[in-house]
């Protein structure tokens, strides 16, 4: 579905992502793992349009989307979340969510001023969509609560709901389980499985290995901007270079 060909990003002399080849298959959960500073988030920024690659190509369903701005990526079906949720804390959950479907509406300034029929149906559509995705993530009862008053875990769910309200084909989740406890992590993993069952393609960055090993169909491992391994969870967990990157090398472990 999404294909990166030798994608590279340099910041000055620092190569954050180096010639990474990567594919996300339709309907799968693909995970990107790697130690801190491996370039995971930079890679996410590249495939969601927030960074322009220094070189390389990005293809979505066969079409070249290398230099598309993020809002365009969202329109063609790539939604993403952020490590920090970035929700508007003072507003109610539903008010945060209603903007998510805005990209599928066409009313402009004058529609809003005159309240044309198109405007009214589109506003209703946005509200319905918001309630629908809120139900999907299992947070319907929070609709009218201000974001600041709901727990961290619920905020993560709302952030995912917001991504879903854009009607995406591919959802990119940047560390969705950061800062929540084990129980909540399981709940979130269930939600991600549910997204897969609903026909969505998911790509996820995560540090919680157990969660990833149970969840992912395929894993890519980045280290210092380079891809060091790719494959099914079982292969990755046996891979020498992955163990080396994470634990500082097998011989070190043996020396102890």
């Amino acid at each position: 579905m999404l294909k990166a060909e030798r994608l590279t990003k340099r910041f000055g002399g620092n190569t954050a992502v180096n010639a990474v080849d990567f594919t996300i298959n339709q309907g799968e959960i693909t995970a990107i793992i790697g130690p801190n500073g491996a370039g995971k988030t930079t890679f996410f920024h590249l495939i969601s349009g927030f960074h322009r690659p220094t070189s390389g190509r990005l293809l979505l369903e066969g079409k070249d989307v290398t230099k598309k701005p993020p809002y365009h990526m969202a329109k063609i079906g790539v939604a993403r979340t952020f490590q920090t949720t970035k929700l508007f804390a003072e507003a109610a959950v539903i008010d945060n969510l209603m903007i998510g479907h805005r990209l599928r509406t066409r009313s402009g300034f004058w529609d809003a001023v005159i309240r044309t029929r198109r405007y009214r149906t589109e506003e209703e559509k946005c509200r319905e969509k918001a309630l629908q995705v809120l139900e999907f993530v299992g947070a319907s009862d929070l609709a009218n609560r201000p974001v600041a008053s709901i727990p961290q875990e619920a905020q993560k769910r709302v952030a995912i709901a917001l991504a879903l309200s854009t009607d995406p084909k591919l959802v990119l989740l940047d560390e969705p389980a950061a800062g929540i406890n084990a129980d909540e992590t399981n709940g979130l993993a269930d939600l991600i499985k549910k997204m897969k069952q609903a026909g969505l393609t998911v790509c996820i960055i995560e540090h919680k290995m157990q969660m990833i090993m149970n969840l992912a169909d395929r894993i890519m491992v980045l280290n210092q901007g380079t891809k060091i391994a790719e494959g099914a969870p079982e292969e990755i967990s046996r891979n020498e270079s992955v163990i080396e990157a994470y634990l500082g090398g097998a011989h070190h472990a043996q020396a102890r």
């Binding site: 939604a79 952020f82 508007f88 903007i99 990209l103 809003a112 506003e123 609709a143």
Partner: protein
């Protein structure tokens, strides 16, 4: 979405009641001094609510608004004196022209973010002032533009101060109505989402640049409208109306009344203007009183008067909702408690 019925009724009544009171004022007093203050409050409120759209709702602090006020004012003045056009077409052209200049400035300046945008727009304001002051062949420069004819619409002549009052009141109400619709719409939500987080808005498929330009142009249009109405009322223009200090006056009104609130511009402008008039006999020394009042206000009401009011109401509404939720669920909680005991 559920809304508090009492709050709904109050906000629905507020507009017609305020309109009636405002409409009755010229009948109650013929004191030109009072009417003059009202008219100036109305004019500045229109300009400030424009500033509110870009600085408040969209979160881009524009400091060029006195400049756009000046453009609107001079456009109307020049069209009526030198081109001898009637009032309404001049007003329309003045507003459109301000919007056009606004869109050009917006396309260039909105590429910058945060403080850089604020500083750039401040410079734009100064440049506009300088153009008005130095382009003597067109604007008459510091001599000022004299002899703007009395505004006329058909056979209706706005010669008296109370006629002017109604004319400007009409545009104020129109501005507030349009603003209310824009703010409580998907367009307004788009602006707010940009203020909240440009990155998130962009990730949600919003063309942030385009929305910012829309907000900026609309805000300059309102500044231009206020300027044009001012020119039709005072009927004499000097470059000083585009002075940067007016931008900061507007910002002050906005902060006192409440940034990102619909009524903030009106309340802030009215309060500060009246206070200033009240302290007029103190001349320069009035700042000794005004300064501390402002400091206290910023310390205790950081979101302005209406802002504080709205926040308190929202908080109460949420508390009520939380209570309702907990009343609805005692059964569930009992069950959980019982389950907990069983587990133990």
């Amino acid at each position: 979405m559920k809304k508090n019925p009492v709050h709904n009724r109050v906000s629905k009544l507020a507009v017609p009641v305020l309109t009636l009171i405002a409409a009755a004022i010229p009948l109650l007093t013929s004191n030109t001094y009072y009417l003059d203050i009202f008219i100036k409050v109305f004019i500045w409120t229109i300009a400030v609510s424009g500033m509110n759209i870009i600085a408040g709702y969209t979160g881009q602090l524009s400091l060029a608004h006195a400049g756009f006020f000046g453009i609107g004012a001079y456009a109307l003045g020049l069209l009526m004196t030198k081109a001898e056009m009637p009032f309404l077409p001049s007003l329309a052209i003045a507003v459109v022209l301000t919007g056009l200049v606004g869109s050009v400035v917006g396309v260039i300046s909105l590429r910058l973010k945060g403080h850089y945008f604020a500083i750039f727009s401040l410079c734009v304001g100064v440049i506009i002032l300088l153009i008005i002051e130095k382009w003597e062949s067109l604007t008459e420069g510091v001599r000022g533009l004299l002899g703007i004819p009395i505004p006329k619409i058909g056979s209706l002549e706005f010669a008296t101060i109370s006629a002017q009052y109604y004319l400007i009141l009409f545009f104020l109400i129109l501005t507030l109505l349009v603003n209310r619709r824009v703010i409580h719409s998907l367009v307004g939500r788009t602006f707010l989402s940009i203020r909240n987080s440009e990155e998130l808005a962009e990730a949600l498929g919003i063309n942030v640049m385009q929305s910012k330009i829309l907000a900026f142009v609309y805000s300059t249009v309102l500044a231009g409208l206020a300027g044009a109405l001012y020119a039709g009322y005072i009927r004499f223009l000097g470059p000083d109306i585009a002075n940067v200090e007016h931008t900061f006056d507007m910002l002050l009104y906005l902060l006192v009344g409440g940034i990102s609130t619909l009524w903030g511009p009106l309340v802030g402008t009215a309060l500060v203007t009246v206070l200033m008039q009240w302290l007029q006999s103190w001349q320069e020394y009035r700042m000794i009183i005004f300064g501390p009042i402002l400091v206290i206000l910023v310390m205790f009401l950081p979101y302005g008067i209406i802002g504080a009011f709205v926040r308190r109401k929202m908080k109460r509404q949420w508390e009520q909702e939380m209570q309702e939720n907990s009343i609805e669920r005692p059964g569930m909680r009992d069950q959980r408690l019982a389950g907990g005991e069983l587990d133990a």
